[in-house]
């Protein structure tokens, strides 16, 4: 069978000594940043992007991907033991997870989180194997009009699923698109929005922009929050849950995995939404509904399975369509472009070793994560004793080195300083930065596809609604917007996203 041959190829790539090493570095770093509150996978991937071009593209992708799904494992440790989410996607895990820790059941909570994550990670990776090739085959048939509408639909979905005001989120998307246009226009050779700075001739450096917002802007924002009382539960006890605990969690893990996998594929989805969705669902359907909020182990199993499943499946749109569903995936696209590979449906056929190697490495990585997280959990707890006052200057330092090394240009560091101020203001004004980052990556692509579509139709904008697939995407986009505008659903959305 084709799939088996492909997987064999993938494992052949993933199981070379070098790639196992990079996979380990990725999941190890991912666990570290997952455990540490205040630094997330986006910043970490951005800091490592400049390094990644010293590696082969496959090794680079394997390492960077490991950071993202590794962070989902690490995030739960902090959530359970300290009642602070190490990652945004483990916010809901704090609810029941920390209660369990208070009741002296920290061990089983950590255990079920790791087991659920491992199962979900493996299942979701399988889904990537099955779903990605046909999806890429369909996408190969897309013309510019379809691509343009797909991007519109993706961006709107990202907006709808973002937290906070939809109008502001649309504003952030449009601003991101505009920022993405800065630099030399490929068609006319004219420099746009460079304001006379030669440093901007190649556009705003993506690494600098994302580190400014997710690294530096967020640090300043964190500094003004009151230092949370670190209530570290250091007594962990036996990590392996009792059979009774596992049995009761099996349906929750399955539900979490399915829901998480589906929500992960959506633009704007990924790990965060998956965890929220799974916890809400679990509270509704789990029987008996006993004591959610008071240390129900299913309240840990479901969201932790879901966020890991979501983290894995969010690779599907990136790998098959070249469209990022969240800022980390935008980073991965950036990494591919550094290597001169334009992400899209062609990657799978032209660089099969890249695609299948990455997929196979996810299994390897998930296995490593279980080993890293269960027996070694004590080590991660020690990490939590590092005070933030020592952590944040180090993050800023690494961001500076990262921004400089991309092009060996000090101008990029200044760009980062500028957008750090902007990023901080956005956080204060509750303008979500994720849509901006997605818009930034898609800006030039959207312009190019619009230009081509209109060139073919000789300027007739009806081309976007006359092609059936394109029309379907646009209808979906409008539908999503209408759904959010409807008051009843808006309430529901706020309820789900806030919780």
């Amino acid at each position: 069978m084709d799939a088996l041959a492909n997987l064999a190829l993938g494992f052949g790539v993933a199981l070379t000594l070098q790639n196992i090493a990079y996979c380990f570095i990725g999941v190890f770093l991912g666990t570290v940043v997952g455990v540490l509150p205040g630094i997330g996978p986006v910043t970490t991937v951005a800091m490592l992007l400049p390094i990644s071009f010293t590696l082969s593209p496959v090794s680079a992708m394997i390492m960077l991907a490991g950071i993202y799904y590794g962070a989902q494992y690490g995030g739960s440790t902090t959530a359970i033991l300290v009642n602070i989410p190490g990652e945004a996607s483990s916010v809901v895990t704090t609810i029941d997870g920390h209660q369990m820790a208070r009741q002296g059941r920290a061990g089983p909570a950590l255990g079920i989180a790791a087991i659920g994550s491992f199962f979900a990670g493996c299942a979701a990776t399988l889904l990537i194997c099955v779903a990605a090739p046909p999806l890429a085959a369909i996408a190969l048939e897309f013309g510019p009009a379809e691509y343009f509408s797909l991007m519109v639909c993706g961006l709107i979905a990202a907006v709808v699923l973002a937290r906070g005001s939809v109008v502001k989120a649309i504003g952030m998307v449009v601003l991101g698109l505009l920022l993405g246009l800065a630099g030399t226009d490929v068609n006319s050779g004219i420099r746009r929005f460079t304001f006379g700075y030669t440093g901007l001739a190649d556009g705003i450096e993506f690494v600098a922009l994302s580190m400014a917002i997710y690294g530096i802007g967020e640090i300043v924002y964190n500094l003004e929050q009151k230092a949370a009382q670190a209530d570290v539960m250091s007594r962990i006890g036996r990590v392996w849950p009792a059979w009774e605990d596992i049995r009761i969690c099996i349906p929750s893990i399955l539900r979490g995995t399915v829901l998480g996998s589906l929500l992960g594929v959506l633009p704007g989805g990924g790990a965060l939404l998956a965890a929220f969705g799974a916890y809400t669902l679990e509270k509704k359907v789990a029987k008996p509904p006993r004591n959610f909020g008071n240390g129900d182990i299913r309240g840990v199993a479901a969201p932790e399975s879901a966020n890991n499943a979501g983290a894995q499946t969010s690779f599907i749109p990136m790998l098959t369509l070249g469209i990022p569903s969240n800022p980390t995936m935008a980073m991965m696209i950036g990494a591919l472009m550094i290597h001169g590979i334009s992400p899209g449906p062609r990657v799978m056929t032209e660089r099969p070793e890249l695609f299948w190697g990455l997929v196979a490495s996810m299994w390897v990585g998930n296995l490593m994560l279980v080993i890293l997280n269960l027996p070694l959990v004590g080590m991660w707890v020690k990490l939590l004793r590092i005070p933030y006052r020592m952590l944040f200057p180090a993050i800023i330092g690494f961001c500076c080195v990262g921004a400089f090394t991309v092009n060996s240009n000090m101008f990029d560091v200044l760009v980062m300083a500028f957008f750090a101020v902007f990023g901080y203001l956005c956080l204060k004004l509750e303008c979500e930065p994720a849509p901006l980052i997605l818009g930034f990556v898609l800006g030039p692509l959207m312009e190019e596809n619009m230009r081509r579509a209109l060139l073919i139709s000789r300027g007739d904008p009806r081309v976007f609604v006359e092609e059936p697939i394109s029309l379907a995407f646009l209808i979906a986009a409008v539908g999503l917007l209408l759904v959010v505008a409807a008051p009843a659903i808006r309430m529901k959305r706020e309820e789900v996203l806030k919780e």
């Binding site: 502001k168 504003g171 246009l181 004219i190 500094l223 020592m390 400089f404």
Partner: protein, 149 residues
């Protein structure tokens, strides 16, 4: 007229400002036509949409109730930005070690209440040693290490 939703109001103004910059600088780029989009076509379109969104936010902020913008911590922000700028201006001439020590110590001052000079200096030294070891010797990134004399 009172502003009821300050966060929306200021977000709207921010979008309007960006839109104004975009529209003003896009004037110089040729527009082309729909069938042959020039470099100014898409920016103009986006600028107009952004202006519209900004205007909606500002107008809406007089009607709906919303949260106040919290206190801006201007000083910590400026300290961190200063640290980053110091790095930018020193990396090419003074090298990685000096630049990294500068940005680490200065930005540590952003939370001056628990700033400890010894600790910050040690952290900076450790960071510089790590960066030189990993980036310069390990990964062979082209970074100047010491001041170019």
């Amino acid at each position: 007229m009172t502003i009821r939703a300050p966060k929306d109001f200021w977000s709207g103004l921010m979008f309007l400002a960006f839109a104004a910059v975009a529209l003003l600088s896009a004037r110089g780029y040729s527009l082309g036509s729909a069938g042959k989009m020039g470099p100014g076509y898409f920016p103009l379109l986006l600028g107009l949409v952004l202006a519209l969104i900004g205007a909606i936010l500002v107008a809406r902020s007089f009607v709906i109730q919303g949260e106040r913008v919290g206190r801006l911590s201007v000083l910590p922000l400026m300290v961190v930005v200063l640290g980053v700028c110091l790095f930018a201006f020193s990396i090419e001439t003074l090298g990685l070690v000096v630049a990294l020590v500068a940005v680490t110590v200065v930005s540590a001052l952003a939370s001056w209440k628990d700033f400890r000079l010894r600790e910050a200096a040690l952290l900076a030294a450790a960071l510089a040693a790590f960066a030189v070891g990993v980036f310069v010797y390990g990964l062979r990134l082209p970074l100047p290490v010491w001041p170019a004399l």
